[in-house]
């Protein structure tokens, strides 16, 4: 917290050196003026979409990632191949082209199949973020599950557990505490990448900042605020994950 205050201090005192016009124009987001307060309300209003978008995309990604990861652990070569192809293909697509493809391309395909679906910016962004991220979560699951020794699966088999029960009661509880930190990383990544949704017209934090910049001509101040908005979001996630880690015992070293 102290470091953040120092950063603010540097911005305000040395601000005049770094602004193109030679001065800062914090009036654009000065809550004591009516115009400034309206701008702030508009900018902060983007939190709702960014958070909702990120949470839904993250949940989908965590689910799809598991579905993609499990075949990698099977003995079936075809299932393994499916996992490899999905991961290699999806993680090679940059987020922005994929977003364009889903938003502008996918409705055309759906239409040719006779489905008249309009993909709005919100769901377009969610689908893109979830699928793009799922290739990474799949690899995290795979690493986590494969780090549990084979003896655990064998012991589970010999006491009669089937595949699902072995995963549910023996492997996943141990794997989850190991993969929680990298999964949290991915969640933070999703929050930040959700900024791309602004280019297809999604009214989230970045889009709103852009709109005010266009009317007020104060990019430095507004983008500075934008950066701090993301900082707050990411810090909140970090605190939440630390709490979860403590509860699950991820912060203890494994002793299996």
């Amino acid at each position: 917290m102290f470091r953040i205050l120092i950063l603010f201090f540097i911005f305000f005192t040395l601000g005049s050196c770094s602004s193109p016009e030679g001065t800062w124009g914090w009036y654009v987001i000065d809550p004591s003026t009516k115009a400034g307060w309206t701008n702030i309300k508009f900018l902060i209003g983007g939190f709702y979409s960014t958070i909702l978008l990120s949470i839904i995309a993250a949940f989908l990604s965590i689910f799809i990632g598991l579905v993609v990861a499990l075949p990698a652990m099977s003995d079936n070569k075809l299932l393994k191949l499916f996992n490899r192809v999905y991961v290699e293909f999806i993680r090679s697509i940059p987020l922005l082209p994929m977003l364009f493809w889903v938003f502008y391309g996918l409705p055309v395909i759906l239409k040719s199949m006779g489905i008249d679906a309009n993909i709005d910016a919100f769901w377009g962004a969610i689908i893109t973020l979830a699928i793009s991220d799922s290739a990474f979560t799949a690899e995290i699951y795979r690493a986590g599950i494969q780090s549990i020794s084979k003896g655990q699966t064998e012991a589970a088999k010999t006491i009669g557990l089937n595949y699902y029960q072995t995963m549910r009661y023996v492997i996943m509880p141990q794997a989850l505490r190991r993969i929680l930190p990298p999964l949290a990383n991915q969640f933070i990544y999703i929050v930040k990448m959700s900024a791309f949704a602004s280019v297809i017209g999604m009214q989230e934090l970045t889009r709103r900042a852009n709109e005010i910049v266009v009317t007020e001509y104060r990019p430095l101040e507004i983008y500075t605020l934008l950066i701090f908005e993301y900082l707050i979001l990411v810090l909140l996630i970090s605190f939440g994950v630390r709490y979860l880690e403590k509860k699950l015992g991820s912060n203890e070293s494994a002793n299996s």
């Binding site: 064998e154 012991a155 589970a156 010999t158 557990l161 089937n162 009661y169 023996v170 141990q174 505490r177």
Partner: protein, 246 residues
């Protein structure tokens, strides 16, 4: 008993790439019989017992468990003739307490109620002489205690046959006897068992038959008395000399 043999093995062969782990093994084990398998490392002892309970696939041959063919690709290890297994590395579930380790199989695989599973688990903890450790996590126990929990966990499924894969090899010397005592008790109660071990004192005490394996084949098998007094083959003599005089 519809079948005289608990385990019937005919012509069992298995290779790992170029390495022949098992070479046409024939072996019948009677109900109630206690068989000890010994031999140098890499001789196929572990592979053999892992084939018996279906953990390992095999290339050729036939295994029957109490008259029913063993199928290595089976989905479920639950059967009327359940086979319990104790591993060298214990393989307890580290995220569960001792009692939860014991209750998991009966509750999930056999569908017992929590209360019945608890009763059964408590009884078995008494039997392996560590009732007071029920709520601890496995890593809070000594190696010997962990292995006894592993034995109790296997017994919780009420097996008709118990397999032990070098149950004392990962233990400190002073903990070996506490684990062997539990296995000896189990043998006295009439359990059919196959034990891979180098504890020859234990073998003398409980075994009905000792099998010596080398290079994936059964080289020699005999009653304990004859096995130690008059080993038939040079390889077996050499092996016994090495493990009895160190």
């Amino acid at each position: 008993m519809k079948n005289t043999f608990a385990v019937e093995i005919q012509g069992l062969t298995k290779s790992f790439k170029d390495f022949k782990a098992l070479n046409t093994i024939d072996l019948n084990i009677k109900h109630g019989e206690k068989v000890v398998i010994c031999g140098p490392s890499g001789s196929g002892k572990s592979t053999l017992i892992r084939c018996i309970n279906g953990l390992e696939d095999f290339d050729e041959g036939k295994i029957s468990i109490s008259g029913n063919p063993q199928n290595p690709t089976k989905e479920s290890f639950v059967s009327d003739f359940h086979i319990g297994m104790v591993f060298q590395q214990f393989n307890l579930f580290p995220h569960l307490s001792v009692i939860e380790n014991l209750k998991l199989g009966p509750m999930k695989a056999l569908g017992l109620s929590e209360k019945d599973a608890e009763t059964r688990a408590r009884k078995l903890l008494e039997r392996v002489k560590i009732p007071e450790q029920a709520l601890k996590k496995p890593n809070q126990l000594s190696g010997g205690q962990q292995q006894r929990v592993a034995i109790a966990r296997a017994l919780c499924m009420e097996p008709k046959l118990m397999l032990f894969d070098e149950p004392t090899s990962a233990l400190d010397p002073e903990m070996i006897s506490e684990v062997l005592e539990v296995i000896v008790d189990l043998a006295r109660e009439g359990m059919t068992m196959v034990v891979v071990t180098h504890e020859m004192g234990f073998a003398k005490k409980v075994a009905d038959r000792i099998i010596f394996m080398d290079g994936g084949s059964i080289v020699e098998q005999n009653s304990p008395g004859m096995f130690f007094k008059k080993p038939q083959t040079a390889r077996c003599k050499k092996f016994l000399k090495q493990i009895l005089h160190h």
